[in-house]
């Protein structure tokens, strides 16, 4: 282990380490703590300039209720849910199929197709913006939740396919070969043999894509306009204009937007990190 395990150091150093941990963490998360403190402050504090002192009263519940009653935050929040969940389902399903196709069969186009998915996944969004927006307008999908879902699902399919293909590739090949010799059909091999084996990868991928889509801002601004389809990220920017100098409400809304990915991350931490670091460990 590197650096040397702290248990092997002098007691003084151990103590120093244990004390420094919470201090460093406090500094690291200071921005978040500050915004949380602001979100539970009464409006009076903000107007009187008490931004960082002790709150004159704790208004956690009234502030968060105010966000929902005085603004469209609830609609934005619900839109985000409606965009994120179908996207995760569609892109992960497509990627399971494609990843299987690219990993198991030896055919000439396996590698070029695989590279096409990877390359597409890395392009800057701006190169897609004008045509995708135009396509959405012409097909009536502009400013709809469906339009956002279809685009996100298509785009994320690139990353998901990269992910699933590499995972399936590392499965023992003999398993599939022997099933084939037994006469099991290709689709049945995929459904009964491969899918159960890739469940951890599906979990990792799903939490990752959930976070990516939930936090997306660019496409939310490019493909939506009205309140009825705006996800929470774009919504917060609108709220920021609406609640000028009502920082306690803006910060409450921002924290609301941060809750789902944070909860997902904590619930599925192992999968989340396994997903992010895929490839970081292999030579």
């Amino acid at each position: 282990m590197f650096p040397k395990p702290i248990e092997q150091s002098s007691p003084a150093r151990q103590l120093l380490y244990k004390f420094s941990l919470p201090i460093v963490l406090f500094i690291w998360l200071l921005p978040l703590l500050a915004i949380f403190m602001t979100s539970i402050r009464p409006a009076v504090d903000i107007n009187s300039g008490n931004m960082f002192g002790w709150p004159s009263s704790f208004d956690l519940i009234p502030n968060y209720i105010a966000v929902f009653t005085d603004s469209e935050a609830l609609v934005y929040f619900w839109n985000s849910v409606k965009v994120t969940i179908p996207t995760v389902i569609i892109s992960v399903s497509l990627a399971c199929l494609a990843g299987y196709g690219l990993a198991i069969y030896r055919f000439r186009f396996a590698l070029p197709l695989f590279f096409l998915f990877i390359a597409g996944n890395f392009v800057p969004f701006q190169i897609l913006m004008v045509p995708v927006r135009d396509l959405s307008v012409r097909t009536g999908l502009y400013d709809t939740v469906t339009g956002l879902v279809l685009f996100h699902a298509a785009f994320q399919t690139g990353f998901c396919t990269l992910f699933m293909r590499n995972f399936i590739r590392d499965l023992p090949r003999e398993l599939i070969e022997s099933a084939r010799i037994e006469g099991v059909g290709e689709l049945r091999i995929f459904w009964y043999l491969v899918l159960p084996l890739v469940r951890p990868a599906i979990a990792a991928l799903s939490v990752l894509i959930f976070t990516f889509i939930w936090n997306d801002f660019f496409w939310a601004t490019v493909l939506t306009q009205g309140e009825s389809s705006k996800p929470i990220t774009a919504g917060i920017r609108a709220l920021n204009g609406q609640f000028v100098s009502q920082w306690h409400l803006v910060s409450a809304a921002s924290l609301m937007a941060a809750v789902p990915p944070v909860v997902i991350f904590f619930a599925m931490q192992k999968h989340f990190i396994a997903g992010l670091t895929l490839g970081a460990t292999k030579g």
Partner: protein, 329 residues
Amino acid sequence: MATTDTGLGRTSRDTWLYRNRIKLAPWLFVAPALLFFAVYVIIPIFQSISISFYEWNGLYNAEGESTAEWVGLENYAKLLDDERFYVSLKNNVIWLVFYMLAVPIGLAIALFLNQTVTGIRLYKSLFFFPFVISQVVVGLIFGWFYNPDFGVIGSLWKAAFCEETINIVGNVTTKCSAPPPDILADENWATFAIIFAGLWPQIAYCMILYLTGLNNVSPDQIEAARLDGARGWRMLRHVILPQLAPATFLAIVVTVIGALRSFDMIAIMTRGGPFGSTNVLAYYMYETAISEYGDRYGYGSAIATVLFLIMLVYISYFLWRMYQDEKGR
């Protein structure tokens, strides 16, 4: 008809479809994803490049035909004379350079946290927090921190340089020896202030990559190096870092791509201002193509194409690395 199947009589085995199933199957598995990906990603890339040779406001005439007008390389020629384009390009370079700080700082935090004391798992996940939340939220938080009137910077400044006095009527007035700096409104500092905010989640990302990498460093080699008297910096440089190479590679790739894709923070914190001084290609393209001054789709697409070509350098390098990997299997 060819030979029938022995005993069971499954004649379906003789069909063309069955004989070619191994050839057809991969295409059937890949087709849905490929179709979807082609419509929304692959084809639009070429459309964008083609639109960059036109002047177009995104409108169609009554017959449903595009009103685009062929202008050849004119959009690119205009780019060469466009000062805002150069400012954006310069800022992209600044982003690329300073965003890279996320890699060594991420490594430093990973080394700091790579211990096995009680509660360390919770610490590790709390340190990762900034990456999980949206850049929009990060941008808002930092925008507020930088605010000269009520942000952290403003408050610290007031504490240091201002004096509160109460006049005869009883109103509080503050007198400052110098006004607090408005960092985001300062042409020289705004970009750095945004990058600083952007580093926060990016460092967390690099840290996680390194923490995982450190888990897989071979303990035998560390022991062997310890016996040889290697410690601290020398150990890190000669024994640990080579083993962390895959993590470093991934950290650099995601940081480069993050730097070139930077958009959210700029949109939230400055909208490219003041006077376009915080623009980067990604934001400038958006501003040009969808703005109140009329939609300049052609010009915007030309900017996007330039950004795409820059990114293509990295994409090609990444694919080349992956290709070497695949060959080695």
